[in-house]
Symmetry: C2
Subunit: 141 residues, 2 copies
């Protein structure tokens, strides 16, 4: 199954933007991500609607960070990009009133929910500021 790399991409972009306060155009970001400008606008639109970045049109326009990196977690970004499914594992619903199916799906569902809660907790515990700090520590200039 194809994976959704939007979270990874957006974090990548945000950290680069944080290190260089100049506004960046969609095209510049697209080049950075080896994709094209429309994809960047589409994906970053989620971050804009959530208020984590701002965009401006016209000369000298582009994207800028509009939040305190220490106040925004990886989970916030995850939600802003709008990923709807986390797991590739799904349920069989061929016979919704089959009681066996219900027991099976409940068991799988509980395991998935548990893992999902864990993932969310982990993503919530790391802020963009933490990542920026990790970068500075691991790769001092």
């Amino acid at each position: 199954m194809r994976t959704d790399s939007r979270l990874s991409r957006m974090l990548h972009v945000l950290l680069h933007m944080a290190r260089d306060q100049q506004p960046k155009t969609s095209q510049q970001i697209a080049t950075m991500l080896s994709t094209n400008a429309a994809v960047v606008r589409r994906t970053m639109g989620g971050l804009r609607r959530a208020g984590y970045v701002q965009s401006e049109k016209g000369h000298g326009g582009g994207w800028r960070i509009a939040c305190d990196l220490n106040q925004v977690s990886l989970y916030d970004i995850y939600q802003a990009v709008g990923t709807e499914k986390i797991f590739t594992i799904g349920f069989d619903h061929s016979h919704p009133d089959c009681l066996v199916e219900r027991v099976v799906n409940d068991a799988i569902g509980e395991a998935l929910s548990d893992a999902e809660r864990r993932l969310i907790k982990r993503l919530q515990s790391v802020s963009l500021g933490d990542l920026a700090q990790q970068f500075s520590r691991r790769y001092p200039t």
Copy 2:
């Protein structure tokens, strides 16, 4: 994104098979799952290679359980069906030597690994026998 319902399907089938020791043909199972026989053979082939079921050709042939339900966990079945990716979340690898990308992917990777370990642990803690027992408890005949 389309989900992989093979685990759910296989558990569904196994529990039905456990309740009726008669061998079942691929076509019977396909009808049970609202799919077709080739898909059943393809998916159950994994369980056969792992030794959890046996198949026999010819008259009176079909699929039978070949394991102790109490010794096989949901995780065993999960592995037998051969799911390779658990999460829809992936990594951006547009610039493998970008240090920012590395920090970001490490952070996401740790969160995912943690959640995956949790999921595996949960799936390992439930046996097919447990599910069969849950069924009997929840829906006594």
